[in-house]
Symmetry: C2
Subunit: 346 residues, 2 copies
Amino acid sequence: MGGKRRKPPAGRSSPTIRDVARRAGVSPGTVSNVLIGVRGVRSDSRLSVMKAAEALGYKSNHMASSLRRGHTRTIGVVVPDLSNEFFSGLVMHWEAQAAKAGYEILVVSSGDNPDIESRRIQSLIARRVDGLLIAAARDDFGAAPGFPVTLPPAVLVDRASGHKRFDTVSSDNVAAGYEGTSHLIKLGHRDIACLTSDDSHIHLRDRVQGYRKALKENGFAGRERLVIGGRSVDACRVAIEREFRLPTRPTAIFATTFFSTLGAIKAIHALNIALPKDISLVAFEHSEWMTVFQPYLTAVAQRRDELAANSWSVLIDRIASPHATFRRLKIPITLSIRESAQPVSD
Amino acid sequence: MGGKRRKPPAGRSSPTIRDVARRAGVSPGTVSNVLIGVRGVRSDSRLSVMKAAEALGYKSNHMASSLRRGHTRTIGVVVPDLSNEFFSGLVMHWEAQAAKAGYEILVVSSGDNPDIESRRIQSLIARRVDGLLIAAARDDFGAAPGFPVTLPPAVLVDRASGHKRFDTVSSDNVAAGYEGTSHLIKLGHRDIACLTSDDSHIHLRDRVQGYRKALKENGFAGRERLVIGGRSVDACRVAIEREFRLPTRPTAIFATTFFSTLGAIKAIHALNIALPKDISLVAFEHSEWMTVFQPYLTAVAQRRDELAANSWSVLIDRIASPHATFRRLKIPITLSIRESAQPVSD
DNA sequence: CGCCCGTGGTAAAACGATTTACGAACTAGC
DNA sequence: GCTAGTTCGTAAATCGTTTTACCACGGGCG
């Protein structure tokens, strides 16, 4: 190699701090001090550095700087499914939080598959994220054999609430079940079907537990009608259709997930029952389309903004003090009373 | 400093390639050769390296390696709004493509604001992404004064189709307008309102152009009924309500965006008109909730998977050959004939 | 005048991986 | 037996930034 500094042939690579230093007639260290500002720099050199950086269109190389500094100011976000409005909502809130705090987020989705989740987390670790916000695929997150032993600071959000080895932030799902059911009881309903997908997750079990609690408190402990709908919209539809072939039909349905809400509506249409005249429904979650749906759905909804804000600050605290005791936050839910649940008719 | 290598007090930092090398009794270079595999390594040293890496839980530091290699194997993705199902759908497809090709994606959202978009792109550049997939906030993407002069290879997706200085991949929006309108014409409709938000974007103008083309081809050039609804659901509702106060009412509505679809439905409800008996509707986009909506909506939908797959491969080609001529891909759309558009009654 | 201190600049050492250049050991061919 | 060629290992350079260590220069003070 002949020259003292050979540029890649295309000459397209971005300018480095050394280029800026050369142009400004100072050393790279001085340029760094101007741009980061940890030490004083005389105002004339400061000015010439700024000019040079501007002229060259210099952009600090994030790889290099975080390699040297030992942190990336990046938070990894792991969600099951971005096309689920609940999670994309959380992600947008987190993105806003991050922007405010000078962080960036790196979003991956796991498809609710623990293996994929584990692989994705591996690659977030390789990227040396400073922290992790995780809506876990399973409640026993981290228990799988091949799982990385040491994780960066992490907060479990929405799922796996109360996990032994992590901070957790999730909705008060017992309250969600309780309030949705209580509302129906107050309207005079006594035969309330509780539609859930299965009992694989603590948040689902909690919602059912809230349903039971409301029944019990009102003296209807024997009137439990748990409908296990599975994880798809159509499985839920089938389960509700079956429930309606029983001798005594429920007069109300409490759907404990977003997908089961869709399944319940499908079943109601298929059975040709009038909503809300012949059947009451308490839905789960809120979504834009509900504003065009008739009747306007009474629903229990999670507070995405509070979930996101709280989990963010718990994570930041955790990063600051890695050895503090774990926190378990429960965020209240919102019951929006609209039109799909009506007083029992007969 | 007394020792030869001082560890950070907490002792928590991840093991480096040097730690692995020491434990395996070889040099860092050999470890690298085992892990990346560009050169042969004797099988006994290979084995001991693998063992050591396993035991230490070694994860290659992505910062360091991409600093040295000069590429990050990361693609930056810029979308206006992740909570829009269309974009989150694209993102999920891209994520799958990336995983297959050994890439990762870094998603940011712009809120459809060119300033935020520009800042987000700056930070993607600082992170030295190898390429960019952009659903631009404006058709004149890159024209703003403070905009980075040199961008990594980039493909414009969905928006700004036909841009002079970039590859573009988008739906055939003229066809979208044409097919939606033609379907209504074939059903006998002659008074078709075309509901759009405004003419700020080429994709919106193209859809309207398709509407006009269908009208013209059928000899109804004079019967144009363009309704400018603005960018919110409620503005669209109001616009349609106003249109229905005119002496001759339209018998059909063609909604050219997802949000205007919602607005149109709201208006139809508010006006107490029966859908599809008294009014036909062709909606835009498909979404899960439509399966529980009555009537099932006839709709023009974009092919997210093809959009994602094609833009991905155009980007990969662009990265491979930066000086090839620009490509302008148009992806066909799908018209799903369902129940909300019926033959005109009278 | 001599000393100390604050200011601001530079050179060089990190950070952790990859890759180049070089050399040792061994094999093969004549 | 000697040379050329292959294989595989190591040391050192490198990527671009931050940070440490050191030095030069002035000003204030005794």
